[in-house]
Point group: C2
């Protein structure tokens, strides 16, 4: 492990964070808020540490996969430690654990919160909360479409060729070119949504905050009641639409901008993703109307499409308290916690593309029993998926199941009841936000013990970095030279 | 599909069932019970249908894998339909659905019951209930060690070579020889346990009933309070010990009888199985003593080893109401619902050997990321596990996860709460018996709707036949010639 080059890159990224930490000051100044030190001090600290690190470790070293893994995992932890300082300074009631949890929830675009009475915090703080998610979403798009495929993580190699850019195997040039294209799409969509929300009647501050956390599939809202704060149906529909956009592979957005509709229409993951949303909406509407939970089909549809989009894309915004819905609907929503959006989106969870591979693979295994001598190939979008990729996807499933059980076991040891432990784990591992029972859509994570918050923070990181990137750091083989 | 040969074998097996249906009559006669027709009539019916089928379809046809699958799956359904008739005749309050559920629960050695006030039924009926489990256990040992490996199901090929017998690929001769060896061990252990229980103070009838359902990992008891009915600690420990025996691969029992201790000691699955039991017991004792749930360590250990053995082997006997235990203990027990015993035992669940492969495989995937060019082999007991076997095991995991989610979704649609739906599905799919909440160890399945009972019956069959055997029947490819 070349620690020097790892520290060097971390230093440079800290300097970038120092810049981001200043952005909420515009709001602090505009609204005459007093907590400007909450941003200035952490920014200064990040700048000093960042400069120190990058100067002290100057030099040119190629980075290999090993350093890539270390940087990816550690940057999320480092950013969460520094990014949490504003919360601690602005509201002394928040401990370091709370601040770290809140920021990890931000940078992993999870959206679980330990803040009670959100509207009591300053506008600067709440904007920073939204910005952490936006940065996290930006990071994850590049990670999943440019870095993880090169590192060979859990089947993400599927996307190696989908985004143009130099095909050299060296990390840096490809990442830079790909990142630029993707960030343009990401930024454009954020602006577009903010504009639409403004015209639908939201004030500019709220419109920006919600757009930052919609495109990142994050789900932080500056209102106590989340999106339920607004009664205008147009706002609900705009956010639903952009949540669905955020759950789409950003390579698809690129194809759309290049008017490559043919590739778009033939993408099996995109079609399955829209199919899942449509199917779940239909079941939910049916269940809710038949049980008399809703009497107005329009309102029912509005809440259902919002909830479905929010859960499948792992955003976590809430307009309806789905804990009052029939049990079938609740469990369907629980299932969505595992589904996740498309790979290469800002959504978390298992991802639609992996679910397709699971199903195709299982069918193939059954088919093989009937025709033991047949030589079968698994295809996605007319291309053969190679065995190492399939094995990577299966390894992901095994790790996901084990992480889920181990996580729930530890959370139940902190005293949570069955439903809360199961759904808090599923929600954090899938980077969603709310769960059921104690951590339901109208509650938050403040009642969880400090130890539990650290466990959940770890689960968020684990899920966000596609498991492997984090697990690898715990193997002796990784640290041996 | 050669329907003729399928029907022929089913006919022959029905004649065997007709014989088994007469065995409870000894008890009926001894205790002067009036419901002898409950056994005579179904036996006569099974005999007539069986004879009719086997005479009508006479002829000699080789059976292939395809017929093998059809026979295995259908025989469990057919046996449950005929084997349920005694319940209907003896107690008119039980519907066909109830009787089918109870018998499927018997033949799959699940042990979930819809009977309320069990002791109100005749001794003949309760013996028949135990016998169904014993037959089911016998069937499953042969199935998992002799038939499924040949059919190539979900990694069961691992055991192809472990039990001696002609290695011809034709189904019949190998099955007969293997079956004889295994049944001897099975019958011997049943007798041994009954004798020990008798000397520990159980009456002969109870001793036989409990032995029949211990060795089969079934868990039906002729007492309302299950094994908690007895206060003698020796009885608890004897049953614990034989439950642990029942969860061991019967190939290991064969090795033991041949004094092949070397192979026994080096068997990684056996060691992991005992390790899991020991580890879980330690955690449970610690949790229960520290929280003050128990004050007497001896009683605590007795209940813990019993509950652990009962759950890990998927037997389902109860001595302690673990729903009153701390939440950590409850969730640990929930995890055991998925573990299951060793492959080739009468236990259900995922099976220890598959869990070992999952873990080894996941570690290998992580290791591969660090050394992308390394060529890795997965070994079990010093032998390389071939890729098709690994793929089979992964296919099993995918199907298990999908079955679990689909099952729970459907069960939640019948109106069950979250915990009940989740644990009823896990319990039936894993062939355990009790779950938590509505279907906890002191409750039963009678409150579940008829539709729900059919779904759970299907899940029991699915889990018992290692998923593939049942799923395959639902593919069009299976029925195409």
């Amino acid at each position: 492990m070349k620690f020097k080059v790892v520290l060097n890159i971390m230093g440079k990224l800290l300097i970038v964070l120092a810049g981001f930490l200043l952005t909420p000051l515009i709001v602090t100044w505009y609204y005459h808020e007093a907590d400007y030190l909450a941003f200035l001090l952490p920014s200064l600290l990040a700048l000093c540490v960042g400069l120190g690190l990058s100067v002290y470790t100057k030099g040119h070293d190629e980075i290999s996969n090993r350093e890539g893994f270390a940087i990816v995992a550690m940057i999320w932890v480092l950013f969460s430690a520094f990014g949490g300082l504003p919360y601690m300074i602005s509201s002394p009631s928040l401990s370091f654990t709370d601040s770290f949890f809140e920021t990890m929830s931000g940078f992993t675009t999870t959206g679980s919160s330990v803040m009670q009475n959100i509207q009591s915090h300053t506008k600067g703080i709440l904007l920073w909360r939204s910005i952490t998610q936006w940065i996290g979403g930006m990071g994850i798009i590049v990670l999943s479409l440019a870095i993880l495929p090169i590192l060979g993580i859990g089947g993400m190699q599927l996307f190696k060729a989908e985004v143009p850019g130099p095909t050299s195997d060296k990390l840096t040039p490809k990442v830079k070119d790909t990142a630029k294209i993707l960030w343009e799409a990401y930024t454009f969509l954020t602006f577009l949504q903010a504009t639409l929300l403004f015209f639908a009647g939201m004030n500019p501050y709220d419109a920006i905050c919600h757009s930052l956390t919609t495109l990142s599939s994050g789900g932080f809202s500056p209102n106590n009641a989340s999106v339920a704060h607004y009664e205008t149906s147009a706002i609900h529909f705009i956010i639903s639409l952009f949540m669905i956009f955020a759950g789409v592979n950003f390579a698809n957005h690129y194809q759309f901008s290049k008017r490559n509709f043919h590739a778009l229409f033939n993408d099996i993951e995109l079609r399955a993703y829209l199919g899942v949303i449509f199917g779940v909406c239909a079941f939910l509407c049916l269940n809710l109307m038949l049980t008399g939970q809703y009497t107005d089909l329009f309102i029912c549809f509005r809440d259902v499409i919002f909830t479905t989009a929010s859960m499948v894309t792992t955003t976590g915004f809430a307009t309806a308290d789905f804990e009052t819905w029939p049990l079938f609907s609740q469990f369907l929503i629980f299932c969505l916690m595992f589904t996740g959006g498309c790979a290469g989106s800002t959504g978390g969870g298992v991802k639609i593309v992996r679910l397709i591979i699971f199903l195709k693979f299982a069918y193939q295994q059954v088919y093989q029993l009937i025709h033991p001598k047949a030589i079968l190939q698994l295809k996605m979008n007319q291309q053969v998926v190679k065995t190492p990729v399939i094995l990577g996807v299966m390894g992901f499933l095994v790790l996901y199941v084990f992480s889920f059980f181990t996580g729930t076991l530890i959370m139940s040891a902190t005293g949570l009841d069955f439903t809360s432990a199961v759904t808090a784990t599923a929600s954090c591992l899938g980077n969603i936000g709310p769960g059921l029972a104690l951590v339901g859509p109208t509650d938050n994570f403040s009642q969880i013990s400090d130890f539990g918050k650290w466990v959940l923070s770890f689960l968020m990181l684990l899920g966000r970095l596609e498991l492997f990137t984090v697990v690898i750091l715990f193997t002796p083989a990784f640290w041996r030279d």
